[in-house]
């Protein structure tokens, strides 16, 4: 049985959403193998791994854009693996909102920022009437660090990538969700504005007591937002626990590889090293791929999966 991430740190708070042994197969391909996690109010969990490791599939299942092949999804203590009544589905979707990677593609170019934010406010009954809507929109924009006077009547093309991503976050917040799933929210933005978006996510998580699932391939940014981290490879959780513990003392070879590849200006590339690094990376991927049910507890809040036998 997998230990559920964050058991040690926040066992006292019940997760809003809980996954137990989630599997998802696409034909022969096992995209997710035994994912178990809990999203708790006021806490951020980072899901880290390379393209194709299954992290987005996991987000899609949580956002109910996809169904697991097996396993259990629990929402506020109720089994929500299968679609419920229309009312239950609406409640679920209201509670779980997403922010996507591409800030340019996720806003409708023919509508103003005001429209993007007023619609969810009206649809979900959080504001009624022109004045209330304008007030709600202004509050949302101020909450994500944008000047309502300047921004509300602009069109998406008049905003920078960072500003658009802030509008996307404001739109997700308009619904007043309990869970925010952010799938690579900064990877299409300049390095220099990533920190601002990460700090914004951390702040709204704190202020609104949101459960945040932060998905990224950049373990350095994960360390900035999330108290807990899950490192995924080939559909499996290979190492997880408190972010500080995992990053300071990585045990799984894939986590070690990921950390060693984070750009560090103090460690210039050494000419003549590429063959060694390529071979090493390939070897790590090879040994990390086989399924394994054996999990070792490294510390109170730090778990690592043992390497599986090659099939």
């Amino acid at each position: 049985m997998n230990a559920l991430p964050s058991l040690a740190v926040a066992a006292e708070t019940e997760p809003v959403i809980r996954l137990d042994a989630i599997e998802r197969s696409f034909g022969q391909v096992k995209a997710l193998r035994g994912i178990s996690l809990g999203l708790r109010p006021g806490r951020a969990l980072a899901l880290v791994g390379e393209s194709g490791c299954g992290k987005t599939t996991c987000a899609r299942i949580i956002a109910r854009m996809d169904q697991p092949t097996s396993g259990k999804l629990t929402f506020r203590g109720r089994d929500a693996t299968a679609a419920g009544t229309a009312g239950e589905e609406r409640a679920y979707r209201r509670a779980v909102q997403m922010v996507f990677q591409d800030p340019f593609a996720s806003l409708n170019p023919v509508f103003t920022v005001h429209h993007h934010l007023a619609r969810p406010l009206a649809l979900h009954g959080h504001a009624k009437g022109k004045a209330a809507l304008a007030g709600g929109v202004a509050e949302l924009l101020a909450g994500v660090g944008l000047d309502p006077e300047v921004t509300a009547h602009k069109f998406p093309h008049e905003l920078s990538g960072g500003q658009r991503q802030r509008v996307n976050i404001a739109r997700a917040l308009a619904v007043q969700p309990d869970v925010l799933v952010a799938d690579e929210p900064t990877s299409m933005l300049d390095v220099s504005i990533r920190l601002g978006i990460l700090e914004l996510l951390a702040r709204i998580k704190r202020e609104k007591n949101l459960a945040l699932l932060y998905i990224t391939h950049d373990i350095a940014t994960a360390a900035h937002v999330a108290e807990e981290i899950i490192v995924m490879f080939a559909g499996q959780m290979v190492e997880w626990g408190a972010t500080t513990a995992v990053i300071a003392d990585p045990r799984h070879p894939y986590t070690q590889l990921l950390l060693s590849a984070v750009p560090d200006p103090d460690r210039p590339f050494v000419p003549g090293d590429s063959a060694r690094f390529l071979k090493h990376a390939e070897e790590v991927r090879r040994i990390s791929r086989p399924a394994s049910a054996e999990v070792e507890q490294v510390a109170q809040d730090h778990f690592v999966r043992a390497l599986g036998a090659a099939s």
Binding site: E50, S51, G52, S160, G161, D190, V191, S192, I193, R194, L195, L198, H217, D218, I219, A220, T221, A223, H224, T244, I247, A248, D249, L257, L258, L259, S260, A261, V262, P263, D264, P265, D266, R267, P268, F269, V270, P271, G272, D273, S274, A275, F277, L278, A281
Partner: protein, 269 residues
């Protein structure tokens, strides 16, 4: 020092808008030596990609080179006619862009795409193209047996390596890489860039490396230029720009990058 391979002198590039000309590149000058890895850093919209397009003369309306010189071995690229330009592009200056992996033709086998380039620029026969393609695949660490595959059969990182291989097949003197690994994850990024470093050492080409990631640039480049709103605000040796930046903006840019906690970085060193 030998005469630089590329000299950019007082380059100005305008974008023509409804409200008149907007100067995106303002009197930019820098040199790239033979075998040198030169980096241009800056945020979106600072003009760094516009410079790349100007050097390859790919700047299209509404962009317009308003002034300056771009000298390759002393020859001004801005004055070349279309025919002479074709002899420079790809053959002397190669280009790898951020979305380069999507610039492979999805309907053609990779081998045919090598042949396309080699035949067009060097008049190579199918046999010679095949041999060259095999050698290039070996260089970038992909088995030659996969030459007959289509682009979609490769991962994103492999596709980007294939574009680099095609680019290197003509042995250019200068390769312009504009955010070549931004769309890839960190492990694949490091695999590709370590290969570029080794290939550079073995083949001796020069590189203009463009990215917004100063940390990555400092791992790769010999010299770095920092752009702000169309101006080159600082140019210097990598050690000076990273340890003792002179310009306020360079310092800000360094401070704004998310990095691992110091304790974790020490553990890795």
């Amino acid at each position: 020092m030998n005469k630089p391979l590329l000299q950019v002198r007082d380059l100005c590039v305008d974008y023509l808008t409804d409200k008149g000309a907007f100067r995106a590149v303002k009197n930019v000058s820098f040199d790239i030596g033979r075998g040198e890895l030169f980096g241009l850093a800056g945020e979106s919209g600072c003009g760094k990609s516009t410079i790349a397009y100007a050097i390859t003369r790919l700047a299209k309306a509404p962009a317009w080179v308003a002034g300056g010189e771009i000298l390759l071995d002393g020859q001004d690229l801005l004055r070349l006619n279309e025919a002479s330009l074709q002899k420079v592009r790809w053959r002397r200056i190669g280009m790898v862009f951020q979305s380069a992996m999507n610039s492979l033709n999805p309907l053609m086998r990779v081998e045919a795409q090598f042949h396309d380039v080699l035949h067009r620029h060097n008049g190579a026969s199918r046999e010679r193209s095949r041999a060259r393609a095999e050698a290039m695949f070996r260089l970038v660490g992909i088995p030659g047996s996969r030459l007959g595959d289509y682009p979609h059969q490769f991962s994103g990182g492999m596709r980007q390596r294939i574009v680099i291989a095609i680019c290197l097949a003509l042995e250019p003197e200068l390769i312009i890489m504009d955010e070549p690994t931004t769309a890839l994850d960190v492990v694949v990024q490091r695999e590709i860039l370590e290969q570029v470093i080794d290939l550079q050492r073995n083949l001796g080409f020069s590189v203009l490396f463009i990215t917004h990631d100063l940390h990555l640039m400092a791992q790769l480049c010999h010299r770095i230029g920092v752009m702000l709103k169309g101006e080159l605000v600082e140019v210097g040796d990598v050690r000076q720009v990273s340890r003792a930046p002179l310009h306020e903006y360079t310092r800000k840019l360094w401070g704004a990058i998310p990095q691992l906690p110091a304790r974790a970085r020490e553990a890795l060193a």
